[in-house]
Amino acid sequence: MNHSNSELSWRVGGPQGSGVDTAARMFSYACAYGGLYVFGRREYYSNIMGRHSYYDVRVSASRQPTSHRETVDLLVSFEAETLARHVLSTVAGGVVIYNVKDEDTPLERITFLDRRLREDLTAHLQEQGLPPTTAGLLEEARRRGVQAFAFPYDEIIAALADKLGVHKSVAQRTLNTIAVAVSIGMLEYDAQCLVKALQKIFAGREKIVRLNVEAAELAYEYVRTNFDFEHFAFRLAANGLPESPMLLLNGNQASALGKLAAGMTFQTYYPISPATDESVYLEGHHTFPLRQGGTGSVVVVQTEDELSAITMAAGAALTGARSATATSGPGLSLMVEALGWAGINEVPIVITDYQRGSPSTGMPTRTEQGDLLFAVHAGHGEFPRIVLASGDIVEAFYDAAQAFNYAERYQMPVIHLLDKNLASTTMTVPPFDVEAVTVERGEVAVAVPENGHDPFPRFQPTENGISPRTLLGQPGTLHWYTGGEHTVYGRVTEDPAVREQQMEKRMRKLEVASREIPPDEKFKVYGDASVPLTVMSWGSNKGAILEALELLSADGIAARLVQVRLLWPFPAEELTPYLEEANPLVVVECNYSGQFARLLQECTGRAPEYLILKYNGRPMSGQSLYEALKRVHAGGAERRIVLRNPLE
């Protein structure tokens, strides 16, 4: 029953701070070094140490997985909470590897297990006549056809300490490597790939590499000699590496790199999950060579709050610097006033919003697509803005760059919507093509020193509403900026006719943007473009929907996805043919109220027949969407389908 080379869903769990991420990186790189496609999904608490975090790595030899699976094929654990939370998600034919110490831990002794979950698990076990312990859960799993292996972590660590003559506390640090090596062993995968991964991850720290390689070998050996994994349905075999090496990165990094490619030279931030990592990445990568020689750089400023972050970025933008700030919902909420200032002053700035579980503090490290209507409507009064949302890591890179072109072409703030799902998802992707990144600076007024002292009509109305932009410090283009309504020179005015002129000029730019931006930057159509079953969505659901479409297709059900990428100005006109053909129209999003559907109806009058929503802070999986869409296709499904999984 060998499924060598098939797809695998691997999960590792443990307390925050115990290296779960490192374990996942090791496993991911080990797979990637075998030429396999990797998709990693990270779940963790808003906590530094102790609370439960877990990482799903989905691997495939044949295609790039684009969403996680809610079920697990191989679960590795070294503490009881992971067992309590995830054994139930392990599939028949799958394997659970646990620390022998955790064999029989009462659920009520697991400090951070949510009461709701403990009660649910206890009830479930009771139904089967099993005790509310990890032993009960393991037994339940075995009854379902899951193999569970006790692994003697402590023994291996002791052996390692012995072998290398290091202190046990040092050896203990290889716990994650051991867990990964055990997995590699179970999958009969190439151990050399893990060694390469260890060399990559601990590059430059030879001693640590050695320690971990030794640990991996001991663990691997143990598995190969002691475990009977004949009945384990999964194997992995290395492919060859592709010609140009794949990148393995997450959305935070993709966005940061896209910004550097675009020539962003100034970024401000105030720390906030899940946005911080982008800025910290930039802080650690602030200089690099330029193609024509010389050094490129980005000034990254950690500000005192988000009010400062956006206003400082706006100040920088006035000098001509490509300038941005990155934040999450609470930060965006604080940026609203300045957004309007940038709007009325026609300042090109980019705001990257990593959406997270909300409202308010919400669930800072969980995902949601809850900021769409806010991004579109944020700010008192009316001013133009552009809102775009990326569907995956590759789009995140190119959109992060394109956002600056939009900002400078139309001289308005651009909100780039990402989310926690994209931020912390890791994927193998083909290398980005930096030279394909074009830099469009829009209309910039040339310095006119001969203009001497005359004020420059910065806000001169034009047919398309766009007036040549000036840069602070430039000779001959002196003028003013103000958040007040203003004349062409940027001086405050309350004249009713000038007000109308300037308001119309500004808003006209939005129509122009709507006209100029090509349809394929506005939305993409996937799947069978001619069938009526139409899924419409935006943002990071893309991967899950594409998988769902494939699964449907395997069932002989044709469907298409219209992924809207430009949310504002909303591409109402271009979408009309799709909306007219759509039957049924299914809108998919990760929020409670179907924000995209509301926006769609606001702009087109068309309401979807079905809404598939998820708002528990976890991303959708392809499988769960597939099931929901099957029900839609079969007819009789409720209009509002909520995807739930109490075990996530």
Partner: protein
């Protein structure tokens, strides 16, 4: 502060035709005139200057200076100004605003801007009231005073903005008086010349709403001797400078001397240069340690694309860190 070339610039170069709508007799006029004279006197050209204003009567100042003028948001003048300065360090950047703007809604930025010591000058127009919203108490109005548009005496205490500047880390601190233009011009010039973050408080009578601390009051018209309440500390030999490399003891002594001056009020109100700390690096210097070539290759100036509009960034090393190779 960047003075590209000392040319002959007259005050007129900094004057505008745009009508000024401050109340007759407003203290703001003296400050405006001083700014214009100071900039002209420094030989900076108007396009090399960006004046950032908060929101309030005072915040309108940029409209009245012939230079790049940015009327920002209430309380946010400092981060706006700092962003421009860091992105284009060649600019001479002035930030101006009211006491409400700076000490109430903007107090958090004030405190944190002090930590950066960016080379710009912040001038606070202290009239003890919210002028433009019709005379409410500002954070600099003393407790219990009742200016004419307050329905009740002021229920909140006063912030001492000089002390706050020192505590926050401003490296040049001075105080002027709007009707002593000669001194004010000098103070603004010193503040602009100071390489680092300068704070200049200007005592600014608001004849419309502040009927307590008026021009007459500052001028001491009610005093037996009829002498002004304000005096110039420099005339009394006060030395505000903490020299480069000063030892801890010197620093503490200078700070103590400053604290004493900062608390003087009533019949003796110190004006002049009160603290100059040459012991602290500027943010620009700190940045230059991280980023080779800064400030010459600044965010506003460094090339980002070639003639064809293609990106010139070479990110290979960053990709290699992530690559499966």
């Amino acid at each position: 502060m960047a003075i590209l070339e000392a040319v002959q610039v007259t005050r007129k170069a900094y004057q505008v035709e745009f009508p000024n709508d401050w109340c007759p007799g407003c203290g703001d006029f003296g400050i405006l005139s001083s700014i214009q004279q100071a900039l002209a006197g420094l030989g900076i050209l108007p396009h090399q200057v960006a004046v950032f204003g908060g929101i309030g009567c005072s915040g309108k100042t940029p409209y009245y200076v012939h230079a790049y003028g940015v009327h920002t948001l209430h309380g946010r003048v400092l981060p706006f100004a700092a962003g421009a300065k860091l992105a284009n360090p060649e600019l001479t950047v002035l930030a101006v605003g009211g006491d409400g703007d700076g000490m109430a809604i903007g107090a958090g930025h004030f405190v944190n801007m002090g930590r950066r010591n960016i080379d710009l000058t912040y001038i606070l127009f202290n009239n003890e009231v919210y002028g433009l919203t019709k005379g409410q108490a500002s954070p600099t109005l003393p407790l219990g005073l009742q200016t004419k548009s307050l329905p009740e005496p002021n229920i909140q205490g006063r912030v001492n903005s000089l002390m706050l500047a020192m505590t926050s880390g401003f490296t040049w601190i001075g105080r002027g008086y709007s009707y002593n233009v000669k001194q004010l011009v000098r103070l603004i010039q010193e503040a602009v010349r100071h390489p680092g973050l300068s704070y200049l408080e200007v005592l600014q009578p608001c004849p419309t709403y502040n009927n307590l601390h008026t021009k007459e009051w500052y001028g001491g018209k009610d005093r037996p001797n009829g002498q002004p309440r304000w005096y110039d500390v420099q005339e009394e030999g006060y030395d505000p400078v903490i020299p480069e490399g000063a030892d801890e003891e010197t620093v503490q002594a200078k700070l103590a001397q400053f604290v004493e001056k900062a608390h003087e009020w009533g019949d003796r109100i110190p004006t002049g240069v009160l603290l100059v700390n040459r012991n602290i690096s500027t943010f620009e210097e700190r940045l230059a340690e991280r980023i080779p070539g800064y400030p010459a290759s600044s965010p506003a100036k460094r090339p980002i694309a070639d003639g064809e509009g293609q990106s010139v960034a070479v990110l290979d090393a960053f990709f290699a860190e992530l690559a499966v190779e």
